[in-house]
C-alpha cells in the first residue's frame, strides 16, 4: 500500500506505530481516487460536447459488433456505437446527480433551517412531515412524478431531488439546532444580530462541512437512482443514452455481447464509487478530530 510502511513490519505489535502513516496515506488516497473517478466522468462528459466517435443515434455498424479500432466498445443491436452512447450517458448521469443535489440540497437546507428557527409546533410538524417523506420509497415517488409529468430526465431529477430534500432537511435541522444552542450564537442574538446574519455568519459556516460530505454521498445515490429509473423506463426517454437504459437494452444480449452490459455497468459503478470516496475523503479533510489523530 503506502510506501512509508516499513517492509519488515509483518508481525503484530509493530503495526501500532505503522498504523498512523498508513491511515493518513490511505485517507489521502481515498480523496484522490474519488476525485480521479469523478474527474474522469466529468472529463468524458465535457469531451462529448466537442468530440464523439460517431453521432450516438447513427445506425451504421453491424449488429452487436465486438470491440474494434472502429468501434472501441462495439455496437448495440441496432448498430449504434456504444462508446458514443456511453459518453452521452456521462452527461445524463452528471446532470441527474448534479440536478438532484442542487434541487434537493437547496430545498432541504431551506426547509431544515426553517424548522430549526421556527416555533416549537411548526418545527415538530415539519420534522414529522420529513420523517414521512423519508419513509416514502423513492421509486414510488418517482412513478408518481412520471405519471404526472411524463417520463423525462427532469421528472427523474425532480423525483430524486424531492426525496433527497427530506434527508438533507432533517440533517440541516439537527445540525442547525446544535449551533443555535451554542453560547456564541446566544450572544450574537442578544447583541441584536438578525436571523439572516446568524445563518450567514454562524450557522452555515459551522454546518457546511457535514452538509457537503452528505451532499457528495447523496450525489452518488442520485446517480444510482436515475440509472434505476431509466432501467425501468421511467427516466430519460429513448434514444437518450442513459446508462440505466443501456443496461436494460443490453439485458437480452448479455450472453452473446456482454460488453453492452459491462461497459455501462462499470461506468455507473465508477461514478458512484467516485462520489462515495470523495465524500469519505472530504469528511477526513473537514473533520479536525480525525485529521490530527
Amino acid at each position: 500500500m503506502s510506501v512509508d510502511t516499513p517492509q519488515t513490519m509483518t508481525d503484530g505489535p509493530a503495526t501500532v506505530t505503522a498504523a498512523v502513516p498508513r491511515r493518513r496515506g490511505s485517507r489521502r488516497a481515498t480523496l484522490i481516487v474519488g476525485c480521479v473517478l469523478l474527474g474522469l466522468v466529468v472529463a468524458t462528459a465535457l469531451v462529448s460536447y466537442f468530440y464523439l466517435p460517431y453521432p450516438p443515434e447513427q445506425i451504421g455498424g453491424g449488429r452487436l459488433a465486438g470491440p474494434s479500432p472502429t468501434h472501441w466498445l462495439g455496437t448495440d443491436t441496432l448498430g449504434r456505437d456504444l462508446m458514443s452512447q456511453l459518453m452521452i450517458g456521462a452527461r445524463i448521469a452528471l446532470a441527474a446527480g448534479g440536478g438532484s443535489v442542487l434541487l434537493g440540497g437547496a430545498l432541504g437546507i431551506v426547509l431544515g433551517l426553517a424548522a430549526a428557527f421556527a416555533q416549537r409546533w411548526l418545527d415538530d410538524t415539519l420534522a414529522a412531515v420529513l420523517d414521512i417523506l423519508i419513509a416514502f420509497p423513492t421509486l414510488l415517488l418517482a412513478m408518481l412524478v412520471v405519471a404526472a409529468r411524463g417520463a423525462t430526465l427532469s421528472s427523474a431529477i425532480i423525483a430524486i431531488g424531492l426525496a433527497m430534500s427530506a434527508v438533507v432537511a432533517r440533517l440541516t435541522r439537527i445540525l442547525a439546532k446544535q449551533v443555535l444552542s451554542e453560547q456564541f450564537v446566544v450572544a450574537a442574538r442578544t447583541s441584536g444580530t438578525g436571523w439572516l446574519g446568524i445563518i450567514g455568519r454562524h450557522v452555515l459556516p459551522n454546518i457546511w462541512p457535514t452538509l457537503a460530505v452528505n451532499l457528495a454521498l447523496q450525489f452518488g445515490l442520485a446517480v444510482l437512482a436515475e440509472a434505476s429509473l431509466s432501467y425501468l423506463g421511467l427516466g430519460a426517454p429513448p434514444p437518450n443514452a442513459s446508462w440505466g437504459r443501456l443496461l436494460q437494452e443490453a439485458q437480452g444480449t448479455v450472453y452473446t455481447a456482454p460488453i453492452g452490459a459491462i461497459a455501462p455497468g462499470i461506468a455507473i459503478v465508477a461514478l458512484v464509487i467516485g462520489a462515495n470516496l470523495l465524500a469519505d475523503g472530504l469528511r477526513d479533510v473537514f473533520d479536525p478530530a480525525r485529521r490530527t489523530r
Binding site: 445506425i59 426517454p237 434514444p239 455481447a257
Partner: protein, 505 residues
Amino acid sequence: MHSTSPTHRTVRSLSVIAAVTAAGLMLAGCSSSGSGGSSADATLQVGSIYEPQNLDNTAGGGQGVTEVLNGNVYEALYKLGDDGKVTPLLASKYTTSDDGLTYTFTLRKGVKFHSGDELTSKDVKYSIEKVLAPKSQSARKSDLQVVKSIETPSADTVVVHLKQRSISFVYNLSYVWIIDHTAKNLKTTEDGTGPYTVQSWKHGSAITLQRFKDYWGDAPKTDTVVFNYYKDATAENNALQSGQLDIVTSEQSPDALSQFENNSQFKVNDGNSTTKLLLAFNDKVKPFDNTGVRVAITEAINRKALLKSIWNGYGKVTGSMVPPTDPWYENLSSVYPYDVSKAKSDLAAAGYPNGFSFTLDTPNYDPHPAAAQFIKAALAKIGVTVTINIITPDEWYTKVYQNHDFVATMQEHVNDRDVTWYGNPDFYWGYDNPQVTSLIDQAEQSTTTAQQTAKLKQANEIIVKDAASDWLYLYPQIVVAKSTVKGYPVNGLNSQFYVYDITKG
C-alpha cells in the same frame, strides 16, 4: 389484436402457492417411488413462457390457453392445420343451402368426451352459444356474430342459420371448442374430446397432459406431455440445454439461439408466425391522413435492416398485414421499397418539403422501444422528427385502441386472417377506404373460397398501395427441439401447438 399484456399475469395468493408446494411434494414422492415401471421416454417435456391464467378460452386466459389446449385437449368441428388449411375434425361433412345462409353439419360418430359422455348436437349448440354469450371474452366473438340461430334436429345433426353469407364461417368454427354441455368449472377443469386429458395443473409450473384412452381418432404418439412454464426465457433455454426439456414452443429473441444453432443435438426451426409488427398511423389525423406522407414514411424505413437488428436473420418482411399462412398471401414488400431520396421527394410532393414532427406512442416492452429508435433515426434522414413516448400496455389499450388519441403508434398484431380489420373504418387506425370496405364485405359474401381469396388479395393490394400502415416485419416462429424429436408444428398460427404427433425418437 395486441398480444397478451403483462397485466394478465396475475399475482397468485399465498394459499395457492402453499397448496401447489404441498401437491408438488406429494407428486415428487409418488414419482420417485413409481418411476420403475414405465420408461422416461414416454413423457415429452415441452417448455413455454405462456402459462394460461385459466383453462377456458372464453375467459381471457391469454395465448397460453390456445397453446396447451387447442387441438390437444379440446377439438372443434374443423381444424386449422399448421399449413393454414382447414380440414374436418368433429364434423364429418356439411352442406349449405343455395342462399348460403343455412349450414347443416353432420357430426362424427363415436366421439366421447373425457367425462365419458357421447358427443351430441346439443354440445355443439352449447359450445357456439358459449362463445357468443354476453360475458364471453373470446377474441372470435365478433366473427361469429353472423350466427342467427342453431337447431339440433337429431343427435348427430346441427343446423346453423346465418344472418348473411359468411365464407369464413367454417374457418371460424375451428376456434370454437366443442365442450360437453354438462361440464362445470371450466376455468380449472376440462371436458373436451381431444387426444389428451389434463391430468394435473401445478400453478406457476406445469400442466400435464395424459393420453385419453377412448379417443375417437388415432392414438397420440406420446403418452404423457408436460408443458413446463417459465417466467423468463433464459431459464427456459437453460432447461433445454441441460436436457430437462425436449422442445421449446416459441423463442422470443435470436440471441439465445447461438447455443443451439451449431449444435447437432438440437434443431432450430425458422417457421412462419402470424404476428406482424406494425407502425400504425392514425389515418384520420394530420399529417397521416395524407397518403403521400404515409408512402414517404414507408419508403424511408429500411424494414430489412430493422428485422436484421431485432431478429438477426430470422423473420420476414412481407410488406402487408397478410401472413404467408393466409390463403390470400402475396409478398408486397416491393410496392414501396426502401428509397430515401424517393421518400424525400414524395414527402415534398405531399406538401411537407421541410418535414414535420410527430409523437410515436411506443409500448414499453420489446421490441417496440428498439424499433422506435430505429424509426426515429431513419425518419431524421427525410427531415421528420420523431418524439418517442413510452407507454404501458394498459395506456395503449385506453389511449390508442379505445380513444384513438394518437398520431402514430407501434403494436404487434398476432392473429391470422386479420387483414379484414382494414374494412372497419372505426378500428383504431382509422383507415377508411369505401372500396376496401366493400371488397372485404364481398369477400365474406363469396360463394367460393377462390372468389374470397381473389377479393381479399385485391383489397390487400389497395391497402398496401394506400400505405394504410407500415407493416414492418413478420415475426419468425422459432421452435427449438432436440434433434431426435419429430412431428412438431413449425408455424405459429395464433399460438396453437399440436403435440399429438410428436415423438421423442
